[in-house]
Symmetry: C2
Subunit: 256 residues, 2 copies
Amino acid sequence: MPKFIAIANQKGGVGKTTTAIHLAAGLALEGFRTLLIDMDPQHNATAGLGIAASENRPGIYDVLINEAPLHEVIRKTAIERLDVVTSDVRLHGAEIELVSKIAREHVLAEALKPLGSSHVFLFMDCPPSLGLLTLNALTAAHSVIVPMQCEYFALEGLAHLMKTVKLVQRHLNTGLEIEGIVLTMFDGRLNLSKQVAEEIAQVFGSRVYKTAVSRNVRLSEAPSFGQPVYSYDPSSRGAQNYRDLVHEFLAAQNHP
Amino acid sequence: MPKFIAIANQKGGVGKTTTAIHLAAGLALEGFRTLLIDMDPQHNATAGLGIAASENRPGIYDVLINEAPLHEVIRKTAIERLDVVTSDVRLHGAEIELVSKIAREHVLAEALKPLGSSHVFLFMDCPPSLGLLTLNALTAAHSVIVPMQCEYFALEGLAHLMKTVKLVQRHLNTGLEIEGIVLTMFDGRLNLSKQVAEEIAQVFGSRVYKTAVSRNVRLSEAPSFGQPVYSYDPSSRGAQNYRDLVHEFLAAQNHP
Ligand SMILES: Nc1ncnc2c1ncn2[C@@H]1O[C@H](COP(=O)(O)OP(=O)(O)OP(=O)(O)O)[C@@H](O)[C@H]1O
Ligand SMILES: Nc1ncnc2c1ncn2[C@@H]1O[C@H](COP(=O)(O)OP(=O)(O)OP(=O)(O)O)[C@@H](O)[C@H]1O
Ligand SMILES: [Mg+2]
Ligand SMILES: [Mg+2]
């Protein structure tokens, strides 16, 4: 069984998709078979890997709503050892369609059960909400990574996200752990960045990755070419930061 | 009756709340009685105006779910002529609770009907989704303002947002118009910013405000002091940009 990791934060635009793409692709480049599930109706992770969204190609919507088996929707990407389950606009309706399903928070966890050991890691990119799509990911996950922009509004939401994680641990998934918190779009020249980073370190201590991802325009340019920054601009600061994060993530796996 | 304007974009972190706060506060400072409704469970607009979120104080959740009359939840802010209807974490549950209500997309529109002419403008800050909270805002609105970050993922989502606006115009609110598109976090030094701005101008032409809001750290610092940038740092570029946007918005009102 792979390790299932949700990338979640209800605050919008904090780098969830960018982190999901670069952890998944980075691990694939390190030799680990990895699967990325795009749980966001915006299908940014799908597009960021160079795959045009399409309502006619089965994806995560079909797994959640039409009970399609997972193996039917796993697709290869341009990156060796990286597979993806795509999302599309139909997923916008899934939040409402899931409401009346039996055990509606467990639909994804059930669908992932048949997954054998074909992949070592499985990531889920979540939408900016705490609705049923994110709850499904947190219920299926072994752990959660929280990308955290060093800004005031993002800090405000962290307490509520942690409350939600505790509720999931108590009622839906007792095994859910916090894999780590990663600071994103960090700019060491700004007081705001440093202040927020200090506040997070005080509360979360060693659960904050030492690697902070700097603000780097290459990271926002890469998705328009449908590729991770590792191939778009391998010597960029963004590529280096995410490679470091991948190594830090891997080192933590050996000491569960 | 005030003019009802939704501030919406399902892409996260594009400046919806920052734009909602600064249009509403800017118009109040120009002498227009303005009401800002926080429709986002993250309650960032509430916090950005210096009001601590509280589940014990009635707010928009009570209007949508407990049928509280609007006049009971309108509160004054520190800014003269600016009132607010606050949000709180209970709103996270509202998406699901609204699903089974009769005419669930019209709940807010109905609640706003008794509003007399006490305010000239009413803004609604929407969450980063196209769920029932945003649909309620679009159904109640006379027009919608779309903050648009000049980045690739934000551009991807624009087509789907426009499709949703058309669906709302056809089935829920025939009078809904596009008030304008405002470029946010614009950085003229970046090719990406300029390229995305060009693509948007080609599609939306004169519906794009001439005022682009530059990336300016003062805008992200101000909410931690619970005030708009007009009082936090009046001479900042961010304050100037939003004052210009307010003037451009007002000029357009005289030519309906
Ligand atoms: N370190 C970075 N430096 C510069 N730009 C970045 C960085 N990380 C992400 N971006 C850009 O910032 C925007 C927001 O990032 P991203 O879309 O990954 O966030 P998200 O949390 O997934 O957003 P949403 O809440 O909408 O799902 C994107 O345009 C992305 O390309
Ligand atoms: N022009 C700007 N320059 C610099 N920072 C900005 C600017 N506009 C907004 N910000 C900051 O960027 C972050 C995202 O902005 P904001 O929260 O207003 O976006 P949003 O679309 O409301 O996000 P969400 O999708 O989570 O509701 C915030 O931390 C905000 O302070
Ligand atoms: Mg995303
Ligand atoms: Mg907001």
